[in-house]
Symmetry: C2
Subunit: 248 residues, 2 copies
């Protein structure tokens, strides 16, 4: 099992990058290298977050991905003119999306996955979770609940006015900014988590995070149609008592 | 550990439902009972999927949830008049969201979590994953990538025309329909997965699913900023060889 992990890590890190971009995004390269330089982790896919304008067929959402082209994409804040000129090229159904930081990390042991999961949750990535394959591959997915998905054209016809597009650009850029804050919080918490336990009081929370956790902890466990969809009370409880407690 | 699971299940299922609605949603009650009647699972929270109009402060996305009120919510398809009359009540920043089926399930053993994860992925819930707490609680979160998040007003001022709202209602209802298809696929796959292995060839895929998986499988493992964000090739590979192979 131990040898397998080392072998998987070697195979993965020497493989060609098959992504469209072909490189790790600038804003998360420090996180990717911290993980890849540690003994217990390596990254299998990553995206720092992006604002993307797609053009596809909405009649069947199930196959949309396959018929969809990219009119515009950026991993930084976007400009109104980028979005406007992207929309001019739309011949189908254009949708503006903000897609937050996404990271897939293979972990040596389940405990390493638990530790990384607590780091992710405590940094605001509340849709994080892992998978364990039959071959024993433990993959942690660091996911945020933070999104935006706005249909802007139908059959090539733009459906909104330019002032709405201006507003959307502001909203998308604000989400990108918040995404970068969470990335840097994740990096700090990750560094702390990889330190020996006695040095782990460094990772502090931004005050507005605390009441969110407190409120959710009160909700009880068997919650049907909860309004705090992004983390279940048990997941939270598990984070609070798992790996490192970063709430101190 | 075994006794603990039975104890946790008993505690959870006898607890008061703290959710706003207070009951399990109609469209998933059959899934919730199959799981709660099985020896290896129980649900800790669930939502069949909803179309929701929130009114909040967007200036700080991080605290939006705490300052946000609900103008309108439905677990069925929505009507134009519901959305229009909801928007009339907006005094802040109204956002229309489609939130798909969400289920948190506590699993007896890791293998039970793996089995449920493969069912979730194979039914189209590609953001599914589990958490393992320090106390040994294994929680599978069944999550979809299927969303919609559209800002519609700013400081109480509606930013879009009524024909755009008509279009949005169509899009949201189409997503709700697709959500119900995935729920029924999940139910079928779950029933199959809970059968003895030799009877598991019943759970078939809709043809358009297959190429998506095939394409993703080709992408290689170390994929930076992949455009198929909703599942990593390793997660997929793990599903293909985990628990049951439902691709047969």
């Amino acid at each position: 099992m131990e040898n397998k992990f080392i072998q998987w890590k070697k195979q993965c890190l020497t493989k060609i990058d098959y992504s469209r971009k072909g490189t790790v995004d600038e804003d998360i390269s420090h996180i990717v290298s911290v993980l890849n330089n540690s003994d217990n982790y390596f990254t299998t896919s990553s995206c720092s977050g992006r604002i993307i304008l797609t053009d596809g067929v909405s009649d069947n959402p199930d196959v949309q991905k396959r018929n969809c082209s990219w009119l515009f994409v950026t991993h930084k804040k976007c400009l109104i003119r980028d979005l406007v000129s992207g929309l001019e090229k739309s011949s189908g159904d254009a949708v503006l999306k903000f897609e937050p930081f996404l990271l897939h990390v293979q972990c040596r042991q389940l405990e390493d996955g638990q530790l990384l999961h607590s780091v992710a949750i405590n940094s605001g990535f509340r849709n994080s979770g892992f998978t364990v394959g039959k071959k024993g591959k433990i993959i942690m997915a660091v996911r945020s609940t933070h999104g935006l998905e706005v249909p802007l054209s139908h059959k090539g016809q733009v459906l909104v006015k330019e002032d709405y597009i201006h507003f959307l650009v502001e909203v998308a850029n604000q989400k990108m900014e918040e995404n970068l804050k969470r990335i840097s919080r994740f990096y700090k918490c990750l560094q702390t988590a990889l330190l020996p336990v006695e040095s782990q009081s460094l990772c502090k929370f931004e005050t507005e995070e605390k009441p969110v956790y407190k409120r959710r902890k009160k909700r009880g466990q068997n919650s049907a149609c909860q309004d705090s969809r992004d983390i279940s009370p048990i997941e939270l409880e598990d984070c609070l008592d798992s790996g490192v407690d970063l709430f101190t």
